[in-house]
Each structure stands twice: as C-alpha cells, then as structure tokens.
C-alpha cells in the first residue's frame, strides 16, 4: 500500500492523519473544536483536494466545479429519500452521478483550453444551476431545496424495520452522522484522509507526472506522441468525483440539498481555497479550505458590539471610527474580507500559504547556517 512513496511522503501522510484525527484536541485553543465546524473543514478540504488535482496538476482552471458538488448532494438526498438512511449507498450514488456529469461536461469542455475552458465549465455549471431552479423542480424542489419528508418511501429501510416517529437521521450502520456530533466529524475525517492518500498517489504516479507535463507544455506532449485528452479527461473526472463526494458528505451531515450550492460563487470559493493554500501542493488545498472556513466562522459571528468590546481601551472618537471601519469587514461583510484576501493573495503571494511558509523556512534556515542558502523549492515549479 505504501510502496513507491518516499520517506518524506510517509511522514507527511502520518502527520496529516494524526493531525486530522486529533483535531478535536488540537483546535481547542483556537476555539474551532466543535464538530460542525471541523466537518466543514474536512468536506471543503476534500472538495479543494479534488479541485487541485485538476487545476494544480494540469493548470486547467474550471469555474464550474460546484455543479458536481450540487449533483452529489442531490444524489445523496435522493438516496436517503428512496432507499435507506445509510450513507454508504448515498456516497456511491453521488460518486456515480458526479462521474457521469464530469464525463459529459469534461468531454465537451476539454476540447478547448485556457479561458475558453473556464467559460465552458462556467456555462455548464450555470446551466445546471438554472435548470435546478426551474424545470427540474420535481427533482430538486427548486428554491426550497430538497429535504427529507415523512412520506418518503425509503424502500430498503422499510423492509427491515418500521419507520420511527419524526424524521430519521443519516447513519453509518447505526452511527449517527447528521446530528452534528463527533460521529459526523470522524466520518468526514476518515474520508478526507483516504482522499488525501489517493491524491498523494496521483501526485507521485506516472499519471500525475503526465498531467504536470501537460501543464508545462502541452504541445510538446502532443509532439512526442501522447494524446493528452484522455489524461485530462481522467483528471477532470477524478476531480469531479471528489466534488461529488464532498457534496454527498454535506448531505450526510445535514440531509438537505439546495441549488445555491451549484452557483458559480461556490465554484469561485473552491478556487480561492486552493490558491490560498497553495496550488499544486499536497496539503495546500486542505489548509486553504480550513483557513477560509475558520475565518468565515469567526468573522461572520462578529458584530459591532464585539468590536466595541475589543477596542474599548481606545479613546472614544478613535474607537468609533475604527469600529465603523472594521465593521465593513465582519459579520455580513465577511465576503468583503474574502475578496480583499483574494486580491492581495493573487498579487503578493500567488504560491499561497505553503509557498509563504517555505520562504519563511528558507529565511529561517539561512540565518542559522550563516548565509549558506538552501534552494527555495525542492520540487521545481513548472514554468507557467
């Protein structure tokens, strides 16, 4: 299972696993150790890892990845409604449908590259979104969103036991995953680790190398006789399935699905997460997803009152001015902060957090060694 991974990779994998599993303890000091938030970290981490397989390795910027997330959510909720509240069939159904969508959309979109690819994926995602809101209402329940009801058949569940009172909860063979407890978190965490492992294998495989070669010079690949399109399509479908998986986990932890998950702002969010963490790095996307969700959680719960509390030591006039300025960025204005981060990041740190840490590391080690510089990146970045 671990053949072909270098020692560094193994350390990374073990460290990552330990960190994710111990999150309830590690994140306590920063106030993020409650399951509802941590499972968000995991779900969006999966989403971003998948996106990174496409964007990080091949350089194809998809602006429609949220469509797969939405498809995954709908498929999972339908599985809950029709078959059983067990999440295993729901996950497989989501993967299946996300893969089908990804094959179709990818087959068409990958005929073009660059900005045309971005627009094509965006067009497809918008089509899905618009249809989900209008004609497909019987399937998607339109604006209200798809929810569980007491009248759902749940054939498989009905065969084994009588339906209890009230809405049933999503379970993994009896383990409650939708209650916002640790069960849901550990489910997501284990899947995140598996996803991380798969992505690591892809990164280190000849297939991953091929994708990187496509990013650095697609024409040369073609001249040497490789047909690049099957590789691209495979990457696209894998990354679409990751998104579908994330969507099904969203439904597993909270069994409803709405069309707004498919909107292109949601696609933009995953792009931001990946870039914030570091495009083309292994842990970057997860870090980016966690950072964004963490700050979203903190910032959007801040109000002017909290700010007044924080700055109460200042003179009143300065305090009022400062608070009224800062209140632009918190609470409802969280998206503004997000946009500002986005802009600053692309300008000053296109490599993301991981690249920033690497630079810091270089500065740090150089001082210790007394001017003996260590090369910045052990893996040379492919030329844009």
């Amino acid at each position: 299972m671990f053949k072909g991974l270098s020692r560094n990779d193994l350390i990374l994998l073990v460290g990552f696993t330990a960190f994710v599993l111990l999150m309830p303890i590690i994140l306590k000091p920063v106030g993020a150790a409650y399951p509802a938030l941590m499972q968000k970290f995991c779900i969006f981490g999966i989403f971003a890892i998948g996106f990174n397989i496409l964007f990080g390795l091949t350089g194809y910027l998809s602006f429609g990845h949220a469509a797969f997330l939405g498809v995954g959510s709908y498929a999972a909720v339908w599985s809950f409604k029709l078959f059983t509240m067990n999440i295993i069939p729901a996950i497989f159904l989501s993967l299946f449908f996300a893969a089908i969508f990804a094959v179709v959309i990818g087959y068409v979109s990958l005929r073009r590259s660059g900005i045309y690819f971005s627009i094509l994926t965006l067009a497809f995602a918008q089509m899905c979104y618009n249809l989900a809101y209008s004609v497909l209402t019987p399937l998607t329940n339109g604006e209200t969103g798809l929810q569980l009801t007491l009248r759902d058949p749940r054939w498989i569940d009905a065969m084994f036991h009588e339906p209890g009172a009230g809405l049933p909860r999503a379970t993994l063979f009896g383990l409650d995953t939708s209650g916002g407890g640790l069960g849901g978190f550990y489910l997501c965490a284990v899947i995140l680790i598996i996803c991380f492992y798969i992505s690591m294998r892809i990164f280190r495989s000849p297939f991953g190398m091929m994708l990187r070669a496509i990013k650095s010079n697609q024409n040369r690949m073609r001249y040497t006789g490789f047909n690049t399109r099957p590789y691209l399509l495979a990457a696209f479908v894998i990354s679409g399935m990751y998104a579908g998986l994330a969507g099904s986990l969203m439904a597993a932890t909270d069994p409803l699905a709405g069309a707004e998950r498919m909107q292109w702002t949601a696609s933009g969010e995953v792009v931001l997460m990946t870039i914030l963490g570091g495009v083309g790095t292994l842990v970057g996307p997860v870090v980016g997803a966690a950072v964004i969700k963490y700050f979203e959680n903190i910032f959007s719960s801040f109000g002017p009152d909290t700010l007044h509390g924080v700055f109460s030591f200042l003179p009143d006039t300065i305090e009022d001015a400062l608070v009224s300025f800062l209140s632009l960025f918190v609470g409802e204005g969280w998206n503004l902060t997000l946009g500002v981060i986005f802009v600053l990041l692309v300008i000053f740190m296109p490599g993301g957090i991981i690249e920033g840490l690497r630079r810091l590391w270089v500065i740090f080690t150089r001082k210790r060694d007394g001017g003996d510089a260590i090369p910045a990146a052990t893996h040379p970045q492919p030329a844009e």
């Binding site: 910027l61 900005i115 497809f124 292109w264 870039i275 998206n335 997000l338 946009g339 802009v343 300008i347």
Partner: protein, 341 residues
C-alpha cells in the same frame, strides 16, 4: 407575425445591455490583453450612480407647519425636495429625468474609477497568466460588490423612468400595422441608446487619430511603441472608456431592472459568453453576438417554445455558446492569432 416581432423587440433591449458590456470587455481584452472579471461590477456601479443621483435629488427639507393638521391631529410636515425649492420647475423636470440625467454624473465617476482600477491594479497583470488575471479581477468584483451592499443594502432599489417614457408605445403604428405590438417606451429608448453608444465607440475608434492609434496598438503593440507613442497611456484611457460604456449601460438599465448589488455578476457571466461567441478580440463580433443572444433568449422564453423543450429559456445562451465554441473555435468573428490555444 406579431408574436415574432414582439420577441425580437423583447430581445433588443437585453441584447443592447449584453452588447454594451461585451463591447467593453472586448476592448479591454483587445488592448490590454486582460480578462476582466470585474467588468460586470462596473455595470453595477453605473446603475448605482443612478441610484445615488436619485437619492441626492430626493433630499428633502422638512418644515413643520403648526397651522395645518393632518388627519391624526399632528402638525403637518411639509416636505419639499431641495432641488425643487432651489430650481423651481426645472428642479421638478430634473427630478423626473433623474435616470438619464445621472449619465452626466456617471461618465466622470466611471472614467475615474476605470483609470484608478487600471493604474492601481490591472497594469501589474499584463504579463501574468490569464488564470491570475481572472482571479484577481474576480476578487476585485467581490470587493466592489460587497462595498455596494454595505452602503445600499441587499434589496433591489427600483428607479422610475421619466414620466414621458413610462407608458407603452404601439410599435405597430410605425410599421403601418395599427395598434399592435404594445411595448414599454423605455425599453425602446434603451435599445436606441445602446445603438448610439455602440456607434459612438466605433466612430471614436474608426475616425479619430486617437482611435486609430488604439487600433494600431491592438494589432501590434510593440511597433506602435517603437514609433514613440506612449501606448500604455492610451490603453489606460481605453480602459476608462470601457468602464464608462459599462457604467452608462448600467445607468440606463435601472428602470428596466431594479439594481441590486449582484446584478453585475449575472450580467458578467452572460457577457463573457457573448464575448466568446462573438470571438475574442472582435468588437463587431461582440455587438452582433450580444443582440443575437438577446433575441435568441427572448424567443426561447416564448410559451410555444417552452412547451416543446421545457427550460430552454434558462439555458439557451449557454447552449449556444457550447455549440459555437465547439464548431467555430474562434467564435463568430474572431480574429486570427488572438487567444489561440
């Protein structure tokens, strides 16, 4: 026949808006080589220029008149907008025509915003990959949008069209068909207005020396630079011009669609599709595709069509874009060598 003509009319005003935004996008792309995802935000900013102008005109002085009582027995408050108190009838007139009049406010404001945006941010991205340009302008669009949301709230703010154009026109009369084709005046005005702006932009590029230099720069930037012309400065002005075009398009659109903070994004996505269908870097293509897609969209929303293919009105534009991109890689009128992959 009537139904078909009506749908064409329906498509023209929306098509006009698409064409104006797409024109600016193409101008920016053709000159600066930058994919500007914040262009929709400029359209939205224009619309909010109209909102601001209207708000300014609506500032009122409140005088409490103790001699008169309202029905509830409280003293009557006499509210007069300052503008009417100062300017009399002209003030009333101005108030009525606040939307078209706010173009006068929008032009300098948008020009300044455009130039500041270009000098402050976009110019650092000429040489960066398109993905970076998309990302940074996308972030900028979010920032602009959220600032507007903070100051104007999340709800749409309806703007009145001038009284004289508030009613419906019988277009059939112009065509000698009697009292048919009832259609809102303002939408017809919008279509004519968009034609005017498009004509003005083309005339500027075609018949002025300045425009000639810009066109030369679009073709071969380096040679123009070698001839001793400061092409960057001209391109900055072109960016400002594109911002103005998007802005006035937004101003005039407010009576048709009450502006809210995310209207820009909706139009941006569609306008990008329009640009791609028209052909990256082709101004004529952008305009033609804008009207074409506007009209197609209105045909697709006919009940007869929807009965055959449900939901087609929601996706027709994207569907057309997909088909065109796959069959005509350069779009309808794309130039050779622009954004070939």
């Amino acid at each position: 026949m009537d139904a078909i003509l009506l749908q064409i009319l329906n498509g023209l005003d929306k098509g006009g808006a698409y064409a104006l935004i797409a024109l600016g996008l193409t101008l920016v792309f053709g000159t600066l080589g930058v994919v500007n995802f914040a262009h929709g935000a400029l359209f939205m900013l224009g619309a909010f220029c109209a909102v601001t102008f209207n708000k300014l005109l609506n500032l009122e002085s409140v005088v409490i008149d103790p001699t008169q009582k309202t029905a509830w027995g409280t003293p009557l408050e006499v509210r007069t907008p300052y503008i009417e108190a100062w300017l009399g009838d002209f003030g009333k007139y101005l108030h009525d025509y606040s939307v078209p009049a706010s173009i006068l406010l929008a032009i300098p404001v948008m020009l300044i915003i455009g130039i500041v945006m270009e000098r402050g941010l976009i110019r650092y991205f000429y040489k960066r990959p398109h993905a970076d340009q998309i990302l940074v302008t996308f972030g900028l669009a979010i920032v602009i949008q959220e600032i507007i949301k903070h100051f104007f709230g999340a709800n749409p703010i309806p703007q009145p069209a001038p009284m004289a154009f508030g009613g419906t026109a019988y277009v059939g009369e112009f065509l000698g068909m009697g009292q048919t084709l009832a259609y809102p005046w303002w939408r017809i005005i919008y279509f004519l207005f968009s034609l005017g702006i498009i004509g003005a932009v083309f005339a500027f590029l075609q018949f002025t020396t300045y425009g000639m230099v810009v066109r030369a720069g679009m073709r071969d930037r380096e040679t123009v630079g070698l001839l001793g012309i400061d092409i960057e400065r001209r391109f900055t002005v072109v960016f400002g011009l594109a911002a103005v075009v998007a802005g006035v398009a937004g101003v005039m659109y407010t009576p048709i669609l009450p502006p809210d903070y995310h209207m820009g994004m909706e139009f941006l996505v569609l306008s990008f599709v329009v640009v791609v269908v028209g052909g990256m870097g082709s101004l004529g293509g952008a305009v033609a595709a804008g009207f074409l897609l506007g009209i197609l969209q209105s045909f697709a929303s006919m009940n007869e069509v929807k009965a055959i293919i449900p939901g087609i009105d929601q996706i027709i534009i994207y569907l057309v874009a997909v088909v065109i991109l796959l069959t005509l890689p350069r779009g309808l009128m794309g130039r050779k060598g622009v954004m070939e992959d």
